[in-house]
């Protein structure tokens, strides 16, 4: 139990025990392995107590039926959060014009505080985590509404600083509630804030940050290093940081590979586009190989997706206008088959390597 620090770790352990039981039964059936009665009893007793303990402490799913129900709860929780969030927004919009400014301010400020307090209290009691995460998302929505509406009421000039505040708030709740969705919200707000600030330093209006996709590269680097921190207790956080880091690199590269005029670089637009296309291909391949080596499936998949996108957009540029459509799509399919063969060879090579290494 020493290594188990989160629900996801506990669930992995339970799944491991169930898999062991299934494999043991199979081996006993074909007379490969037969444990003595004392041994079997000791193992069963130990595993039964462990599952019970994990179930009490982390509310894990002990069988497939419970897993399906949990998935349903997760979906319901997400839909409930979205619905409640939208409801809060529209509720306020429906009635705010009937309140004086003082009452509007009181409602806007107290709503996120009250929800935060309830979320905090529930965090200690809700072992499933679904209700806490739902409430946390609604709390963030209330806080966003809080600042947006105060800005409207007092006609305050919009600023990118609001995104920094929302990012910090979402980050704190993400770590408090161990919620990847909230972490994603925090990263999105932070990405927008940092890129807007970089744009502002170069003289542009903060809302125009998307017109220079290179503004997002620094965000990508920051997220990459944040992902390398120890997130042992926070299941999936490292993956979220990595994936967003890659997205915030590849999407700007993809845009710039077709729109050289969006670059800060004082070079010919076509040269910029060509360079970014090469960068896109090379980095996608490097990411895939790095992901294979480190066993990060998220990196392999993301690299794979963007390599494919870069490749097919290149095909489109080269052939779409003049090639018959049936031939174009045939080439696309043949390329996919070629990539399948390459990945199959890589997989076999990976398996051979793991056999050689002790």
């Amino acid at each position: 139990m020493l290594d188990i620090v989160s629900k996801e770790h506990a669930q992995q352990r339970v799944d491991q025990i169930n898999a062991f039981q299934d494999e043991l039964a199979l081996l006993e059936d074909i007379d490969i392995l037969c444990l003595s009665e004392p041994q079997k009893n000791a193992v069963n007793q130990h595993q039964k107590e462990l599952i019970k303990q994990l179930g009490q402490e982390f509310d894990v799913d002990v069988n497939l039926r419970e897993k399906h129900l949990s998935l349903g709860m997760r979906i319901a929780s997400f839909l409930g959060a979205l619905g409640l969030t939208a409801s809060v927004f529209f509720l306020f919009y429906q009635f705010w014009g009937n309140f004086s400014v003082a009452n509007q301010v009181i409602i806007l400020v107290t709503a996120p505080i009250v929800l935060l307090a309830v979320t905090g209290l529930l965090n200690y009691q809700d072992k499933t985590g679904y209700f806490v995460k739902l409430l946390a998302l609604v709390t963030i929505a209330c806080f966003v509404l809080n600042l947006v509406m105060l800005g409207h009421i007092f006609n305050i000039t919009p600023s990118a600083n609001a995104f920094l505040v929302w990012a910090l708030f979402s980050w704190l709740l993400a770590y408090a509630c161990n919620a990847r969705l909230l972490l994603s919200a925090a990263i999105i707000c932070f990405a927008f804030y940092l890129s807007a600030q970089i744009g502002a330093y170069s003289g542009m209006y903060w809302l125009s940050t998307g017109e220079r996709p290179e503004n997002f590269f620094l965000v990508s680097i920051v997220l990459f290093f944040l992902g390398r921190l120890n997130h042992h207790k926070y299941w999936g956080f490292t993956v979220i940081y990595r994936v967003f880091s890659l997205l915030l690199f590849f999407i700007p590269v993809l845009v710039l590979s077709h729109w050289g005029n969006g670059s800060y670089l004082p070079l010919d637009a076509q040269l910029i586009e060509g360079s970014y296309q090469i960068i896109g291909f090379v980095v996608a391949v490097v990411v895939m190989f790095y992901g294979i080596k480190r066993q990060h499936n998220d990196m392999v998949n993301t690299g794979n997706i963007f390599f494919t996108i870069f490749l097919y957009t290149k095909f489109f540029d080269w052939w779409w206008d003049w090639m018959p459509k049936y031939l174009f799509f045939l080439l696309v399919a043949l390329t996919a088959v070629l990539m399948l063969l390459i990945f199959k060879r890589l997989r076999i090579a990976n398996v051979e390597m793991s056999k050689v290494q002790p």
């Binding site: 919009y93 105060l150 000039t157 209006y205």
Partner: protein, 282 residues
């Protein structure tokens, strides 16, 4: 326990989140208070010509904000009625350089926030009225001299011209953007009549166009940073009553139905002081 472990304790995280709510709201309220402290940088009487009511009554939103309607004078365009993002004559390459707009980078050049000067019922507006009057007289002369059109059609065309002139005189905005700068204090010194000039933040963008085989750089005003002014509860009864009435037809001359006293504060952000129905005005 390390600092990291301490900071990641749920109690600490929730406390920090609470502090973020308090600090951010405090900052916003202080900013709003600072804006309204001291003498306003502008205090003008704007009518429905300059502050428009939302066109469709939105059942889902009980709040109300009046949209600021402004114009620019552009001699390239023979239509002074247009509201929105036209390029004023004065926002040329020299002015863009004064505003530190980077014209060396690639196009499209990104937008920039600057301070804009809006003039109410001033020289720019009077020039527009004069031009509209001259245009009307020219068109009337042309229509009357044209023997190819029938009397009924002639009358219709004359009515259209008269209507257009009347719109300029009574419907279209008297607020014109006449200047821009980076230093609001300097602009306040130059345009020091708070009852006629507004200094506020706005967004501009530079463009390049090929005119008669020559590259011509000009600027365009995209929008004001605060494009609409919230109407507080104590002032919105008249507005709600007007919204509840059937919308006026597009052919109808929209004479202003209300007057709004608007103030701009130390942060160059607006608020509404008073709203009066037009029939109550002297």
């Amino acid at each position: 326990m390390t600092l990291r472990m301490f900071l990641l304790k749920p109690k600490v995280l929730f406390t920090l989140a609470f502090l973020i709510i308090i600090v951010s709201n405090t900052w916003l309220l202080i900013a709003a208070t600072l804006n309204r402290s001291g003498p306003p940088t502008a205090m003008l009487a704007l009518s429905e010509r300059e502050l428009s009511l939302p066109s469709a009554y939105n059942n889902e939103n009980s709040g109300l904000a009046l949209r600021i309607k402004w114009r620019v004078a552009n001699s390239q365009v023979n239509d002074y009625s247009y509201f929105g993002s036209y390029a004023p004559d004065w926002l040329d390459e020299a002015k863009l350089n004064d505003l530190d707009v980077d014209l060396t980078g690639k196009q499209p050049w990104p937008e920039q926030q600057v301070f804009l000067v809006l003039e109410l019922n001033g020289k720019q507006y009077q020039n527009t009225l004069t031009a509209a009057q001259q245009e009307f007289e020219q068109q009337v002369a042309l229509i009357q001299a044209d023997t190819s059109i029938k009397d009924g059609q002639k009358q219709r065309k004359l009515d259209e011209q008269r209507q257009q002139l009347t719109r300029q005189q009574h419907e279209y905005s008297r607020l014109f953007v006449i200047d821009a700068g980076l230093n609001p204090e300097h602009l306040l010194e130059l345009y020091n009549d708070p009852q006629q000039y507004i200094i506020t933040k706005g967004i501009i963008r530079a463009y390049q166009q090929n005119r008669k085989n020559k590259l011509y750089v000009y600027g365009q005003i995209s929008s004001l940073s605060v494009p609409a002014i919230n109407v507080p509860l104590e002032h919105n009864k008249l507005m709600k009553d007007l919204q509840a009435k059937p919308a006026r037809g597009w052919q109808e001359i929209k004479f202003p139905r209300y007057q709004v006293t608007v103030a701009y504060g130390q942060r160059f952000e607006p608020w509404i002081e008073q709203i009066q129905a037009a029939h109550k005005l002297n």
